[in-house]
Amino acid sequence: MRLSVASAISHGRVYRRFGLSPRSRLDLLRNLVTALVRHERIETPWARADEMRGYAERLIDYAKRGDKDERAMRMADFWLTEKDLIHKLFKVLAPRFQPHPGSYTRLLQIPNRDGLDRAKMAVIELKGNPLPPLVRPRRHSDKTLLNQLLKGYRQDAQRARGT
């Protein structure tokens, strides 16, 4: 009795399936990229954010080529449905990310959605945005017990080496 499991195996395909068709998937991701470029921080289901991240970063790589590049302009024209954002992309985002070699976005997971589906949500943001930061970098304090003990140990070792 052959039960076909072929439908559940991807055989190495990495792109997820969204929406009603491949064209619909691209439209969905295009809307998300446009929203990201407009608002610089968006909250969506994790799978969509993960899928969109690659497209957004490649779009910024194209934008870094410059305004005059025909290919870059065509890409921006396709991916950004709101045409005032093409100006923002080339004049604001490209100079902002010029020193960076890659990874212009940050993807962080959020507690599951409040609705019935309890979907796994994520917030994706462009680095260097003017909005309040999501995660504060923690400085390790010197006053904790472990750090004080290690400091004492280091001082003892130094004194032993010195004498």
Binding site: R38, D84, L85, V92, I110, P130, P132, P133, L134
Partner: protein
């Protein structure tokens, strides 16, 4: 199966009788290979008339022919067996060991997920900032081609914020929003 009439020649008749005897006793292996059913006179007739069982005059098929045999439990499963199956570790809910305390607010959070309380604070603040941005822009599709900077009450733009668009918030700067 035709019954051979013994021919009038007595020698042939005797031979035939001997062969028949051997066949009857099963001592002639050439025919069926040892195990042969007992031969006897039989009618050379068509199929169905050979087995004249009771022709179904009843119309409704009897229970034993029409039932579909299906699996059913033979014995009641005892409560001990049931407990073993229900409480097997694979069926229990897994305990989460990745829950921590958020260092900022003290609420519980999962290690790989942002703290819900802190994120709600940041979300509210971004909502208010975006309302200010919308008021400044006036309408839809007016995204400026310059960077943005958010300044709170009593703050002046520094020389780093030269060509940027300034968004004013009529509030004291929250402690967790560090000015760069």
């Amino acid at each position: 199966l035709l019954v051979l009439v013994p021919s009038p020649l007595p020698r042939l008749r005797a031979l035939l009788q001997r062969c028949w005897g051997r066949l009857e006793r099963g001592l002639w292996p050439g025919v069926f290979g040892g195990q042969s059913p007992p031969w006897g006179p039989a009618l050379a007739v068509q199929g169905p008339a050979l087995v004249p069982q009771g022709i179904s005059d009843t119309g409704t098929p009897s229970l034993l022919e029409s039932v579909v045999w299906m699996a059913a439990p033979k014995q009641r499963r005892t409560i001990e067996v049931n407990r073993c199956r229900r409480r097997n570790p694979s069926k229990l809910i897994e305990i989460k060991r990745n829950i921590d305390v958020c260092p900022e607010c003290g609420n519980l959070k999962q290690k790989h997920v942002l703290c819900g309380y802190c994120y709600a604070k940041v979300k509210e603040e971004t909502r208010l900032i975006r309302m200010e941005i919308y008021k400044k822009e006036g309408g839809p599709f007016n995204a400026p081609a310059v960077e943005t900077v958010v300044l709170y009450e009593g703050e002046k733009p520094t020389e780093k914020d030269e060509g940027k668009r300034i968004i004013e918030r009529a509030k004291k700067r929250p402690s967790w929003f560090v000015q760069n």
